[in-house]
């Protein structure tokens, strides 16, 4: 039986629903010997800012039960460097490249978006709104529906590429944030970013991470991410890229059943560098095994069955 795995995320044509999660796959080069980059449905790069960023002091990572906390702190060489030095290699692989951006003011987001024109070859812009808004006293843009909408409008007005808003789970009501960014022009949403967490070293008696707080990712957060995808699927019409703790093809299927059109593999890359490839194959096998002709039949399917 041949099965179809192609999906369309707001105009981004993916030959299968698997992309990489921002910040967990470098710019692809590091993983190119384990994963055939051109097999990916899409590739999302580490978040870029206007200026280069050092990031946070080490330790930047702590292991927790079934997860990790990271506080890399958006270390990146700046968008211009990326466009000149990293993008050409990526574009050679004939897959959609999604560029993740972040600013500390709405203006920065606008300036970043303006650099992302269709002629760069980039397929879409993912807007990381989990960073603190310096003007609003450090509250994360993504934790407030209005601020999130301001950012997305600014990006929307400055680029004609598909705009994906990446939502944070650290909110009371993720549906209202999703509605708000869609109202502001987001063509798709991706979720979830990391969950705010902390680890303490009981013998040194201080936080493990130099930054105190870190973002929790990995299998531990999978139920939280699935819940967020389920809720947002019921709230908005735009496609969802689901992520958070996906380690296997069956995890990816759970996200798709909950409402995701595509999924991203993050932390799992660190444990199994071949994970993205294996998940792509696994999804294909699942469709065959279950006699499902098209992955699209599964999107949100768990909402449509009567729950006994």
């Amino acid at each position: 039986m041949t099965v179809r795995t192609m999906v369309d995320v707001a105009g981004i044509k993916m030959k299968n629903p698997v992309t990489t999660a921002a910040g967990t796959f470098g710019n692809g080069e590091e993983y190119a010997r384990y994963v055939n980059i051109h097999d990916l449905g899409a590739l999302c790069v580490k978040t870029l800012t206007l200026e280069p960023h050092h990031g946070n002091p080490p330790p930047r990572i702590a292991e927790t039960p079934g997860g990790i906390l990271n506080a890399v702190g958006l270390q990146n060489p700046g968008i211009d460097y990326f466009l000149e030095h990293n993008l050409p290699w990526l574009l050679r692989h004939n897959i959609p490249v999604i560029v993740s951006i972040a600013g500390s003011t709405v203006e920065e987001y606008a300036l970043l978006a303006a650099k992302l024109t269709p002629d760069t070859g980039i397929a879409g812009v993912e807007v990381n709104i989990s960073c603190p808004n310096v003007k609003a006293g450090g509250i994360a843009f993504g934790s407030n529906a209005e601020m999130a909408a301001d950012v997305i409008s600014a990006v929307r007005q400055n680029t004609s590429l598909p705009v994906i808003a990446k939502l944070s789970p650290n909110v009371t009501d993720i549906k209202s944030i999703a509605l708000s960014v869609c109202g502001a022009g987001a063509d798709a949403v991706s979720l979830i970013n990391t969950v705010l967490g902390l680890a303490i070293d009981p013998y040194r008696r201080k936080p493990v991470l130099a930054n105190i707080f870190g973002g929790l990712s990995g299998p531990a957060i999978k139920p939280i991410a699935l819940r967020a995808v389920w809720q947002v699927y019921e709230a908005v019409e735009v496609p969802i890229i689901g992520m958070g703790g996906i380690t296997t093809a069956l995890d990816a299927i759970e996200f798709i059943l909950a409402g995701a059109t595509a999924v991203a593999v993050g932390t799992t890359n660190f444990i199994n560098p071949r994970a993205a490839s294996e998940i792509i194959t696994g999804i294909y096998n699942y469709l065959q095994e279950c006699h499902i002709p098209d992955i699209k039949n599964l999107i949100g399917a768990a909402h449509r069955q009567e729950v006994v």
Binding site: Y31, P57, A62, G66, P219
Partner: protein, 265 residues
């Protein structure tokens, strides 16, 4: 770099908490260079989740095996210690930048603190040089390892223990500094705990001796993608974050930027 399920062909407890593990992994054995490490999957479940970086201690290119020395520290290494000969262990490697050698070097010192011994022993095996002095430090005599093998390859072996139960009583850096009165080294290679490397780098700078040190930092991916393992590398007051896993673990001693020290200027 290979992702490899290697069969365990030898696994021995060496002292209270150190083990030697040999895994069949021919492509890795072929490619490995001293200073490189493996990123090891200690369990098979999500707990613990991450791989553990362990230096390559030696390779046998004939039978295609790779040996590691490790100490049980926490949950990952404790799980590793339970694995039995015949079982498989998934390793990723060889990773990182190896120690480098310049043919002009005539006299070399290797300074190992604790299991910093592991990569330096591999270096010792691969360096074809007569005038090589090996300094080994440990907490006590029971933690001094591989002396027999080292004696066969090094011109001299000096030991230091914290409790004086073998060799010099004190740190291996003190022992090394004492020898500087008598010996001149073209290059010093070192590996060990961070405070030891910090002290050594200071001494090397003070004495204008070239050095290469192998650093440790907590890792995510091990392949350079996640930027979790970064350390400050630079000269004077300027530094940038570099990745221990991909740009290191071996760095020039003079380039390591020690935050808590006035000695970077």
């Amino acid at each position: 770099m290979h992702l490899y399920d290697g069969r365990i062909i030898d696994h021995k407890r060496l002292n209270a908490d150190c083990y030697r593990l040999t895994v069949a992994a021919p492509p890795i054995a072929q490619a490995a260079r001293p200073g490189q490490f493996l990123h090891v999957r200690c369990g098979a479940t999500y707990d613990p989740l991450l791989r553990r970086p362990i230096s390559i201690n030696t390779v046998n290119r004939k039978n295609g095996s790779v040996t590691m020395l490790y100490r049980v520290i926490g949950r990952g290494t404790a799980l590793l210690a339970q694995k039995k000969v015949g079982e498989q262990v998934n390793v990723l490697g060889p990773l990182g930048q190896p120690f480098t050698f310049d043919p002009s070097y005539r006299k070399v010192a290797l300074v190992a603190g604790g299991l910093g011994l592991a990569p330096l022993y591999f270096l010792l095996q691969e360096l074809n040089i007569d005038d090589l002095v090996f300094f080994q430090g440990a907490r006590s005599a029971s933690e001094i390892l591989l002396t027999h093998n080292i004696k066969q390859l090094a011109k001299e072996l000096y030991l230091a223990t914290d409790d004086g139960s073998a060799g010099f009583k004190g740190t291996v850096v003190e022992l090394f500094v004492n020898q500087l009165a008598f010996q001149n080294f073209d290059i010093v290679y070192a590996a060990g705990p961070q405070p030891m490397l910090r002290a050594l780098c200071l001494e090397l700078k003070r004495n204008h001796i070239k050095g290469q040190v192998s650093l440790e930092e907590r890792m995510g991916c091990g392949v350079g993608a996640c930027l979790c393992c970064n350390v400050k590398i630079g000269r004077g007051n300027s530094w940038v974050y570099k990745r221990v896993c991909a740009d290191g673990p071996v760095f020039d001693a003079e380039e390591v930027y020690w935050d808590d020290s006035a000695n970077n200027g």
